[in-house]
């Protein structure tokens, strides 16, 4: 008896968003027309991109096991960026300007712009630039970074439902992409995209950050919200079909389970491995749910996730005519 497994065809597809321009080697994400990783029935022009997070100041709250691979370069963004790309193989970087937060050093917009500029000098991958958190300070900082780095196709992180107008205007003015962040809710993600579109932001330059719940801390909400966003996109909802970015490292390493030493909880096993597993499990689960960009902290996690993705998308990145990194995959190759 043969199996009649009909491939599932959808009305819609994800938007394709290209990150990086100017001196960057661009990375395109999205564009798939099926459920995440369903390469057996749908076409995915790009594989999920893997980013590493680097910071402008020493991230003192990072737990030792995730500080260790960055030893010597924490708080030195250009060197960290070089290590992230050259040694660890990140497709792109998230530069977290945590030091601009009023309670974490209150670095100035000028210092922030200089930090990002130094990273742009050091590496040629696209950058996501994350501010200190929604508010006046973030707007000032990111506006300055956006202006100084015009033409580099940064992704500014992040506009929110309550505070999107400044960054929308800045992104449009200086040609950057924008990350819209909404609190684990399909409707609010859509509302923000509508607000951005109404502000003349091209949604082909927008990533959705649906707010990541780490493993054990709301992962299931992110998982289902992302599945629902993907289903809406595939159903043809033009306001929900932007690729999704997940800040996995930040959430995974925030978990108590990634921080507690083995001697305090003997049943929990090795702290280092446990932390990496926490990040791996969070990342893999969210890629299954539809993450197209995953931001990680530990290079070992990146390595492990990359090996997994190689199974779906092949191991050799290829460059197309425009120089876009394109791990192309076509459904026809796979029909057996």
């Amino acid at each position: 008896m043969s199996l009649d497994l009909k491939p599932k065809k959808w009305a819609g597809a994800l938007r394709e968003v290209t990150l990086g321009a100017g001196s960057r080697r661009p990375v395109a994400v999205g564009g798939g027309n099926g459920l995440p990783l369903h390469t057996f029935e749908a076409a995915f022009p790009h594989r999920p991109a893997l980013a590493l997070e680097i910071t402008d100041v020493d991230p003192v709250r990072w737990v030792e096991s995730v500080r260790q691979p960055w030893e010597g370069v924490l708080g030195r963004p250009a060197e960290a960026a070089r290590r992230a790309v050259a040694d660890f193989g990140a497709d792109l970087l998230l530069v977290h300007l945590m030091g601009t937060h009023t309670d974490r050093g209150n670095r100035s917009p000028e210092q922030a712009a200089a930090d990002v500029g130094a990273v742009l000098e050091a590496v040629n991958v696209p950058l996501i630039v994350k501010g200190p958190g929604a508010g006046q300070k973030q707007n000032t900082v990111l506006a300055r970074v956006a202006e100084d780095c015009r033409g580099e196709g940064l992704a500014l992180h992040s506009a929110t439902n309550e505070d999107y107008k400044t960054l929308a205007a800045v992104a449009v003015a200086y040609g950057h992409a924008l990350v819209g962040e909404s609190p684990i809710d399909v409707n609010m993600a859509k509302q923000l995209n509508i607000l951005l579109a109404d502000s003349n932001v091209d949604l082909n330059r927008v990533l959705i950050d649906p707010l990541t719940g780490g493993l054990g801390y709301g992962l299931e909400y992110s998982y289902s919200v992302m599945e629902r966003i993907r289903l809406a996109a595939l159903g043809g909802d033009a306001m929900l079909n932007c690729p999704i970015v997940c800040l996995v490292g930040e959430e995974a390493w925030k978990a108590k389970e990634a921080k507690v030493p083995a001697d305090k909880e003997p049943l929990w096993g090795s702290q280092r491995e446990r932390g990496i597993h926490w990040e791996v499990a969070t990342a893999m689960t969210l890629i299954e749910a539809g993450a197209e960009v995953v931001v990680l902290r530990h290079p070992e996690t990146l390595d492990r996730i990359r090996k997994q993705l190689d199974s779906w998308f092949g191991s050799e990145p290829s460059h197309d005519r425009e120089g876009v990194v394109q791990n192309s995959f076509r459904a026809t190759d796979e029909h057996r």
Binding site: E220, W268, E273, R274, H277, V280, A281
Partner: protein
């Protein structure tokens, strides 16, 4: 297809007799449609109604029980592809792969006792080793018996039919799961499982042969079957798992309507993650360290939470940091996501505080308010029950900025010199709120006790 509330309503007598415990037949019909009630509660249901409801509610994936007694585990009976459509029903059993070769009886028992003793409490669930997957060797009969005696459900990872038969015969009363070796001829194993009435895993190199093999095993008299999906690499495994679930739900082949079994080798946590998220029902793990098991237990807990009944925090007063009687007192709803976000931001603020989690039936603050579950009175009652007055000397409570509307009512309901302070709308503003509003006020309160 499940019936809608209105369709069921039309099958009911519509007498509003209340014998089912609900005020109207329509209420009862809606509970039935939601799967929260059984038709047996209606004494006057017609045979037609029973037939229609029964046909509509048979799950497309059969349930299978492994083991006996308290630790027996039932899996399967799933009805959806996406957990948000309804919920995933039976969380996968996580079995420890155990190779007793070369162990003394004492060493073997020590390991089994250790696994049996593991109990980790997390968010209302107790994590434990759900079963033991015994690798067939010369020592395996004794090991399987020892595991069964400790109450563990046992999977027999067979190498040979005679060896598996010897083990299965000894512990058949405990309903072990029979797992033939890869590529084995299934006929003998199916006959054994059928004869002993125990569940059987069937495997095949591709999906079509897998479905046929399951159908053949059923024809050979095996009632409880699990499928081992083709999965040489992650992509193929993911494809197989997705196709089996979809095929089962679409009922395209009777051989696909069974739960899935997966073996995970050492250092393959990614494979286990894939299995737990994508529909595997029994996962046997070679690794035995907490650094592997804890994330997987936690992932399973996350994925198998009923999304329509949001994970709720137990109402109560939670300490963020080490608060004292002068620390701020925040109040929020018991929707766990709200709690996670608020507690995370409060913790990040560096200010120790008390977080009062109020029973708002698992809804977020605004939704709860709009549904009447976060009224000033409810909050006041909760604060009294958690004896908040004894925990903070300032008698000031900070409410979410989205519901300033409850402040007057709350202040009145609390009485006795309580103040209500409207906090920020977004949790991310908690730190500046503590700094700019709470700080000066706390000094003020110090002079006006």
């Amino acid at each position: 297809m499940p019936l809608t509330g209105l369709q069921i309503f039309k099958l009911l007598p519509n007498t509003n007799c209340k014998k089912c415990g609900y005020p109207t037949c329509l209420t009862f019909a809606m509970k039935l449609a939601a799967g929260k009630e059984a038709l047996e509660k209606c004494p006057d249901a017609s045979p037609e109604a029973k037939a229609a409801l029964g046909a509509a509610s048979a799950p497309p994936i059969r349930g299978v029980t492994v083991g006996r007694g308290d630790r027996a585990i039932t899996v399967g009976e799933e009805t959806v592809f996406f957990r948000h459509e309804k919920t995933f029903v039976r969380h996968p059993g996580l079995f420890q792969i155990f190779d007793p070769a070369g162990l003394t009886a004492a060493e073997r028992d020590a390991k089994l006792d250790h696994w049996r003793a593991i109990r980790i409490e997390r968010a209302g669930e107790t994590f434990q080793v759900d079963g033991i997957a015994v690798v067939e060797t010369a020592e395996s009969v004794a090991a399987a018996v020892a595991a069964s005696d400790r109450g563990f459900p046992v999977a027999i990872l067979a190498a040979t039919l005679p060896g598996a038969t010897a083990i299965a015969e000894r512990i058949k009363e405990h309903r072990p799961l029979l797992v033939p070796p890869a590529g084995a001829n299934l006929e003998g194993y199916a006959a054994l499982a059928a004869r002993l009435g125990i569940p059987l895993v069937v495997g095949a190199p591709d999906l079509a042969s897998l479905a046929d093999a399951a159908r053949d095993a059923a024809r050979a008299g095996v009632t409880d079957i699990l499928l081992e999906p083709p999965g040489a690499d992650p992509r193929l495994l993911h494809h197989s798992l997705s196709a089996i679930r979809r095929g089962a739900l679409d009922r395209i082949h009777p051989g696909l309507g069974h739960p899935v079994f997966l073996c995970v080798g050492a250092g393959e946590i990614e494979k286990a993650v894939l299995g737990i998220t994508k529909f595997a029902s029994l996962v046997a793990l070679a690794d035995c360290g907490g650094e592997t098991w804890l994330p997987l237990w936690t992932l399973r807990q996350n994925i198998y939470t009923d999304p329509q009944k949001p994970l709720q925090m137990d109402p109560g007063l939670y300490a963020i940091g080490e608060p004292n009687d002068r620390s701020p007192l925040l109040v929020t709803s018991n929707f766990s996501l709200t709690y996670f976000i608020v507690s995370t931001e409060a913790e990040a603020s560096g200010v120790a505080c008390h977080l009062a989690v109020v029973d708002a039936e698992g809804l977020s603050v605004l939704t709860a308010w709009s549904a009447g579950k976060f009224s000033g009175d409810r909050v006041a009652k909760a604060l009294r029950e958690m004896k908040a007055a004894e925990r903070v000397s300032h008698h000031t409570v900070i409410i979410p900025g989205y519901v300033p509307v409850i402040s007057g009512e709350l202040e009145d309901a609390l009485g006795d010199g309580w103040h209500v302070l409207v906090g920020p709308q977004e949790a991310s503003d908690i730190a500046p709120f503590f700094r700019d509003v709470w700080g000066p006020l706390a000094r003020d309160l110090g002079t006006h006790p």
